[in-house]
């Protein structure tokens, strides 16, 4: 599955796209923390299919997933 990274998180990861395999959001969170230095200390949200998602859920691999640092628009 393709994970989109933005802003300071893309900067930390050194890339704006990651390829990962995770059966659930919970599992994905653990992999992201292992992969992106300093992520655990950052404020961020995960969007599944363009909606910020907090509760754990199963992932099929067809979702559009993004890791979002704090918003700064406006």
């Amino acid at each position: 599955m393709r994970i989109l990274l933005f802003g300071s998180i893309a900067e930390k990861a050194g890339t704006s796209v990651l390829e990962m395999n995770a059966p659930s959001l919970h599992s994905l969170r653990h992999q992201l923390i292992a992969r992106i230095p300093g992520l655990e200390q950052m404020r961020y949200a995960i969007a599944i299919d363009r909606r910020v998602t907090v509760e754990d859920q199963a992932l099929t691999g067809s979702e559009e997933i993004a890791v979002l640092p704090p918003f700064a628009g406006g």
Partner: protein
């Protein structure tokens, strides 16, 4: 007005700063809508904040465009539900490098009377700041940078 109606997904992003002349053109286009009595416009301008004595010289904005436009479509639909009197709503946000003193953001609502336009703009500005995945890299005068965070 091409901008009426809440339903279509519309692009709000422009490359670079918002030109005051563009705002004038946008205002002038409403002259044919003689049911309008009130326009309310909010503009965001890039501030030269100082961070530990070093000044911000520009903000580089990026966005998760698809999610931002979907969130904006929902905000727009909710705004037209909450304030049915609104006749027109225009939202623009700059992307890329925007220097201090330049305009990065515009929310422009029109209505027959001021209350709806005023309330809608205040609500929409707050919602956009909270809900749209837009990211800002503050470029400092010493070439370092900082990531901007709303609130």
């Amino acid at each position: 007005m091409s901008s009426s109606g809440p339903h279509k997904v519309k692009d709000i992003f422009v490359e670079g700063a918002i030109d005051p002349a563009f705002i004038a053109t946008s205002i002038a286009k409403h002259a044919s809508r003689t049911d309008i009595g009130a326009h309310e416009i909010f503009l965001g301008q890039v501030r030269a904040d100082t961070v530990d004595g070093t000044a911000v010289v520009a903000i580089e904005y990026t966005a998760y465009r698809e999610m931002a436009l979907e969130a904006m479509t929902r905000i727009r639909e909710e705004a037209f539900e909450k304030w049915p009197a609104i006749t027109c709503l225009h939202v623009h946000h700059g992307l890329g490098l925007i220097p201090t003193g330049a305009l990065c953001f515009m929310v422009f609502a029109s209505a027959p009377h001021r209350k709806a336009a005023r309330e809608a703009v205040a609500w929409i500005v707050d919602r956009i700041k909270a809900d749209l995945p837009i990211f800002g890299r503050e470029i400092l005068s010493d070439s370092t940078h900082l990531w901007k965070t709303n609130q």
